[in-house]
Symmetry: C2
């Protein structure tokens, strides 16, 4: 029943000479996603963006920008290299490749360091690890150009409570999950597209103008994980959204990532700030990662192995 929810992520901003990336078309995306072992399940569009729910996470394509997130055992690096080749390394204004530390890293087809050695052949940049090896950590590789965009992410580990129970239950309904996430009322202007996986798992994409939100839920223990990412730039709705989801999922621990965006740590109630890092990537861009856990001492249940 194990599924690796921890994600790999590439983000590309193309220069002004590059044709509209949306014109690459679904067939192109199907082909390059196949290299990572992922496929397209559904799509929504507006005037700004095509948003795809994938077999493993999500793809967003704007005129000049791509955001591709995959989880499971996908080899995102293979797709990333193919996209860079197609767009042309010379036409990248911004390039970012990230990996969240996996629950079972040994099941992955490559390590971050392997990926970077391949990436460095075509995109020069700097690689970092933020976070201890024996805790949640984040691998980052960015080229050295300013990006001038922003996003925020909330990554929740070991979810508990009634929605977690429902998501681990026998019968689930997409519409029930979407309602219980309470995201629609907070983002009333967004259109949404979601997918329920069998036996467990749920993905949601939402778009409004050039804003996106994407939610991915891997409910099953021992590796339950929920990620939320958005480029909403106004602090108040973002804060409400993250607080609401923290209440709904009641995770043991969580990370908040802000790329050119910060969320006041002291305003997230009942949490214990574990660790934090703020890193300037160039003269403009900053990434900050804040790690939290619940205040109460956690009662660990021993897990019987190989019964």
């Amino acid at each position: 029943m194990f599924f690796e929810g921890a994600e790999k992520r590439i983000e590309i901003v193309a220069d002004e000479l590059t044709s509209d990336l949306r014109h690459l078309g679904d067939l192109f995306w199907q082909t390059v996603l196949a290299k990572a072992g992922a496929s397209i399940l559904s799509k929504i569009s507006n005037d700004y963006c095509d948003a795809y729910v994938l077999s493993e996470s999500s793809l967003f394509v704007w005129q000049d920008r791509i955001l591709l997130i995959t989880c499971g055992n996908t080899s995102l690096i293979d797709t990333a290299l193919q996209i860079v080749e197609s767009v042309g390394a010379d036409h990248l204004k911004w390039f970012g490749y990230q990996r969240k530390s996996e629950f079972h890293a040994h099941l992955q087809t490559s390590r971050f360091e392997d990926d970077i050695r391949r990436l460095q052949q075509c995109v020069s940049g700097q690689a970092y690890r933020i976070g201890h090896l024996d805790s949640h950590h984040h691998y980052l590789y960015f080229n050295r150009q300013p990006s001038q965009h922003s996003y925020s992410a909330l990554q929740m580990y070991h979810i508990k409570g009634s929605l977690a129970d429902y998501l681990r239950g026998e019968r689930q309904q997409k519409s029930v999950i979407l309602t219980r996430l309470c995201i629609e009322p907070l983002l009333a202007k967004f259109i949404f597209d979601d997918c329920l996986f069998s036996p467990y798992g749920y993905s949601l994409n939402g778009i409004y103008q050039d804003y996106y939100i994407t939610v991915h839920i891997t409910p099953q223990e021992p590796s339950s994980y929920v990620s939320v990412e958005t480029n909403l730039s106004s602090t108040a709705p973002l804060f409400d959204l993250f607080c609401s989801l923290l209440n709904i999922f009641n995770p043991s621990s969580w990370d908040v990532i802000g790329f050119n965006q910060s969320i006041p740590a002291d305003r997230i109630g009942c949490s214990d700030p574990l660790a934090k890092c703020s890193l300037m990537l160039n003269k403009i861009d900053n990434i900050n990662i804040n790690q939290y856990r619940q205040l109460a001492c956690e009662q660990l249940a021993p897990v019987e192995l190989l019964p």
Copy 2:
């Protein structure tokens, strides 16, 4: 510079029909340790025990009992199976095999589950994992007989301060480290044997009657780690020892393991209890694992990779 400090551990108690295990002799131990990739560096003895400092951690041999701890990339399972074969599986009153989650699990020659599949061929027992996969976790395999002995361990991660700096420095002296550990005054009746490794690392064994203490230090980041284990059964000296070492090493986080032994969590000052677990292994034996971290939010330094 990476060294895996996280340890594997076997403990065996032989029945009354088994000959004095100390008579197996140094040549036997050299031969079986070679199967794990470890070797004997030095030895001290008293009327009760032979204590060996190994190239990777320590071995203690009593008349009816063996405790073997190895770190690095040793394949302790190979030595464990050889010892079980030599003593005879039918003559084991108690058998325990444990692994601490590694900083870099992918560099190990086997996973715990692999080891257990081999062990189950000769020693029936129950396997557990205590602790989340995305945090420190402990793998345990015990046969189902009562052991009636006890031990305590303190495992410290990410050490800081002047002794940590000294241990990471250019020139170190064994005698300076032993003095700065402040263990000798606390355990005045013990005799000690220690070894300094190049370029980093320090091991210490101490024995008095049938009591032992063993300390292993891997000072270098990103995986600094100090483990202390002892069968001292009186709570007060044990508590003083652990508190003293926590002050000296100032770790970011630490685990306290008690096997038929508990140390009051609320008496370890300035710490934040993260998680705890108490597990009855049979009608008599209990193992409890308590995880702590420092109270203050940690400032994480980003680590540049592949510069």
